[in-house]
Subunit: 252 residues, 2 copies
Amino acid sequence: MTDINTSKTTATTITSDKFKVACSNCNLRELCLPMGFNAEEMLRLDEIVATRKQVKQGQHLFTNGDPFTSLYAIRTGFFKTCVASEDGREQVTGFQMAGEIIGLDGIVTDHHNCDAVALEDAEVCIMPFSNVEHLSREFPVLQRHVHKIMSREIVRENGMMMMLGNMRAEERLAAFLLNLVQRLHARGFSQSELILRMTREEIGSYLGLKLETISRTFSKFSEDGIIEVKQRYVRILDADQLKQLCNLQTSI
Amino acid sequence: MTDINTSKTTATTITSDKFKVACSNCNLRELCLPMGFNAEEMLRLDEIVATRKQVKQGQHLFTNGDPFTSLYAIRTGFFKTCVASEDGREQVTGFQMAGEIIGLDGIVTDHHNCDAVALEDAEVCIMPFSNVEHLSREFPVLQRHVHKIMSREIVRENGMMMMLGNMRAEERLAAFLLNLVQRLHARGFSQSELILRMTREEIGSYLGLKLETISRTFSKFSEDGIIEVKQRYVRILDADQLKQLCNLQTSI
DNA sequence: CGAGTCATTGATCTGTCTCAATATTAGTGG
DNA sequence: CCACTAATATTGAGACAGATCAATGACTCG
């Protein structure tokens, strides 16, 4: 159960079978939906997901400017979200994995304000936002859950502002690795090993650093015996030292 | 109506008079509440605000760790929100003015995750979150509005990540000034003059720069004839050049 | 197997930070 | 009203973390 995060394991080819699309028997339920419903209510909650969608590696789930209609719950795979400035500079705003929700950026203007790109073959549950709002009005627990998800994203971005505004390269990368491994661990993967799904350049964009700096900092951590790195493979040897490096709450 | 932003003008001493606390006749209504209600619905909506509260300059409206109970709509005055790392480094995460909502960070953990500090004497409307959620279930328009406010904050922070990750000092300060003056203009103040409510250090913390860099960049803008600066007073002489400096959407 | 993508490492450059001194303003009390 | 103090702002000189430029190496995938 604490495998390394080679999510190939869960790559069951899903049919469009109605039964399979139900939240009520989804093994990610506790990650993307609130708890505490009885069986009958769970069935109503299944209405929230209209259908599923496969997204191949490199494909966009949505693009800046697209009309906003739905939120997406990641079933399998790994995404990045990013924004671009007019002159082409790109900023990765987040990396998302199974059980996490993307698309919240689209609510305010009814159009998406960032790109969501699959970093590996992925599958998402499409949740039309009208369904979300409708069911939220019926189920206060769901309503609260939706609010919490949005609030969590706000708090996460607050933490990112702290990273980008105040922390040095080593601190940023340490915090990044700890956050990643913690989220993977919550999904049953190892808490000391991981396979990065993104390039050095994407990590750098996320952390406000250049890819060379990411590479150098990985090498330094490796020399110091804190981690073992081999391309996309990372093994954390001394988690305590990593935590010391980033005096930041490993927020959410 | 396009006065400089010396908000002394609106400093009417408010009584606890029930009538005065009503949203239905608040001149900031269009800023913090959705439009399109009839008179009867507006009266119901008044229930959303329990009471008001005065916050003196320098006082905290809430502090990291405080139990979360309410959102706050700013009636008058100016706030900053900030987070701190364990070793004491502070990151300003936002500046908020009349009509804006603060406290969203508290929803996810039921405790606030940042500090909100008044930068000048202020008054806020206290909106118990249970009221917000209750009325949201009754009024879909309000529900959507709450979602939009949270989404707007997420998008704003995405833009901040772009600033902090990719932009140089001049670009950051230009974007900052344009954003500030645009929001002030939306409130009836001048679109070329403003009084800064925060110190160079607070601007620097917000923009991920040191106070000396802020001061130097102000001086440079001044030498280049883009702005006129005298301590807290700023007059924008060449808005186009400022806009050119920040190839960023002047997001929201 | 080969082409393209991605990662590593070195040398040098630069934007911002740091340290420091001074100037200006706001606030306080006599 | 002024003197005094603390807070804030400006400006300079030098230092440094990370960027940039460049070359090589490793992996991936058709």
